[in-house]
């Protein structure tokens, strides 16, 4: 019987051109047995939500280093939910000041992973929280 594969969209919203972190996370998720759909740099929230819909992902994982997270993260949550994807886990990472995290969580970001987080923590979080 085929095992249920957890599918994760790894996306870089906004304009910063640094995807090293996103690639490290993508690779760690792959090694954990997840199917990672990698969409590359400079995605708009609309593109991310539409890719999440077409790929029917369980998780949307976003990375931002530019400081645009207070605007872009909640926008993605709003668009993904508007598409009818009520259970999709949405997480964020990158250079996010501690003080911004409560507001992001309130906006529907399930967890925020800041620099220095072991990739294993992200894997565990996804395994625990994806609704099957």
């Amino acid at each position: 019987m085929m095992e249920k594969h957890i599918r994760v969209l790894v996306a870089k919203p906004g304009l910063d051109g640094h995807d090293r972190g996103a690639k490290v996370v993508a690779r760690a998720l792959r090694d954990a047995g997840f199917e990672v759909i990698y969409t590359g740099l400079r995605q708009t929230p609309e593109q991310i939500a539409e890719a999440a819909l077409q790929e029917d992902v369980d998780v949307v994982a976003m990375s931002i280093l530019s400081g645009a997270h207070p605007h872009l993260f909640p926008k993605v949550v709003e668009l993904v939910r508007a598409n009818g994807m009520k259970d999709t886990l949405i997480i964020g990472g990158g250079v996010i000041p501690e003080g911004d995290i409560p507001a992001l969580k309130k906006a529907g970001i399930a967890e925020v992973f800041t620099p220095g987080t072991p990739t294993g923590d992200i894997v565990e979080f996804i395994k625990t929280h994806v609704k099957k």
Binding site: M2, H5, D31, Y38, G40, E50, L53, D56
Partner: protein, 322 residues
């Protein structure tokens, strides 16, 4: 059997048929994960399939299959055709995970509502596609897509499953990958209906074209259709319209000569046989392996009280009586 995230059913099919992209997406997930509902869904969808033109795109890793798919899809959109794309990337045989990265080259298509792109991992299949690619194609077909691109994993020499799934198969090659003996070996070079030489501005493109021409001219079976070769530079959009003309010419050819009907007939035959075999396989797994009965026979065989041939005959008789 796994329970899906959302209860899928007849409503899902209705929604898919009336244009819900979410329903289409969830249906493909059900197919891919072999959810219990999947076969009921396929039954409902089947009468609505058979309308789309299925274009297979294969070639070695890094040949530019995704970039070319992106460019071709844009041109077909300009002609007013709706497009479905299935892009297959390899699943790790070690972790079961995958990085599906074909969308990177197709970001410009994401927000076009006339295009639906789905990435799939091979999940253990070795022929360049996943076991469920053909059913995912049917879902896109029933959804109403005019043309469906199936992009294989980057292939080596012998991954030729794409011919079973596609109406027209395009092989994408790039210069600098070996001498002319590579071109006369068996395998993917035998399956191309149309050849694209991408990165044609790189050194060796003319030589590759000459070698391919020679190889194709040697093949006496190609009297009806001699596969044409088109040089392209996908990332600059060069040669794309000429390539589309060749693809359309091939499609017209197979329609007019009856080859399309024969290919689809053969595809249905293969699918039916495979479905039958896998269903019998599932029955065996469920009733003989998982129930522990198989293990019970083993000690008898080890002690030579019984033999595998007798047991298989008994089990088959039992199966056939049901």
């Amino acid at each position: 059997m796994f329970i899906s995230k959302v209860v899928l059913g007849i409503d899902t099919v209705k929604e898919l048929l009336t244009g819900s992209r979410l329903a289409l997406s969830r249906t493909i997930t059900a197919i891919e994960n072999e959810y219990e509902e999947a076969s009921a869904i396929m039954r409902e969808l089947y009468p609505h399939t058979g309308h789309a033109f299925v274009l297979g795109i294969t070639g070695p890793p890094g040949a530019g299959k995704s970039t070319l798919t992106d460019k071709l899809a844009r041109e077909y959109r300009k002609m007013g055709k709706t497009v479905g794309i299935i892009a297959v990337d390899p699943t790790s045989p070690f972790s079961g995970g995958a990085i599906l990265g074909d969308r990177i080259r197709m970001n410009g298509l994401t927000l076009d509502k006339g295009v639906f792109i789905r990435s799939m991992g091979t999940r253990g299949s070795l022929g360049g596609l996943s076991h469920k690619t053909a059913d995912a194609v049917k879902a896109l077909d029933a959804f109403g897509k005019d043309i469906i691109f199936v992009e294989t994993v980057g292939v080596g020499q012998s991954e030729v499953d794409i011919v079973k799934a596609a109406d027209t198969t395009m092989v994408v090659l790039i210069p600098g990958m070996g001498d002319d003996i590579q071109a006369i070996k068996a395998g993917i070079l035998e399956i191309g209906d149309v050849f694209a030489i991408n990165k044609a501005d790189h050194e060796g493109a003319d030589k590759l074209q000459a070698e391919l021409n020679m190889m194709l001219d040697l093949d006496g079976s190609m009297l009806e259709w001699r596969p044409p070769i088109q040089k392209v530079i996908a990332n600059q959009g060069e040669g794309i319209n000429e390539l589309i003309a060749l693809i359309d010419k091939h499609y017209t050819h197979i329609k007019e000569t009856g080859l399309l009907v024969r290919r689809r007939h053969e595809r249905i035959r293969t699918e039916l046989l495979e479905l039958l075999k896998s269903s019998i396989g599932s029955y065996i797994t469920k009733n003989i392996v998982d129930s522990g009965r198989l293990d019970n026979y083993l000690s008898d065989i080890e002690l030579r009280k019984n033999d595998p041939y007798t047991i298989v005959r008994e089990l088959l008789n039992e199966l056939l009586k049901k």
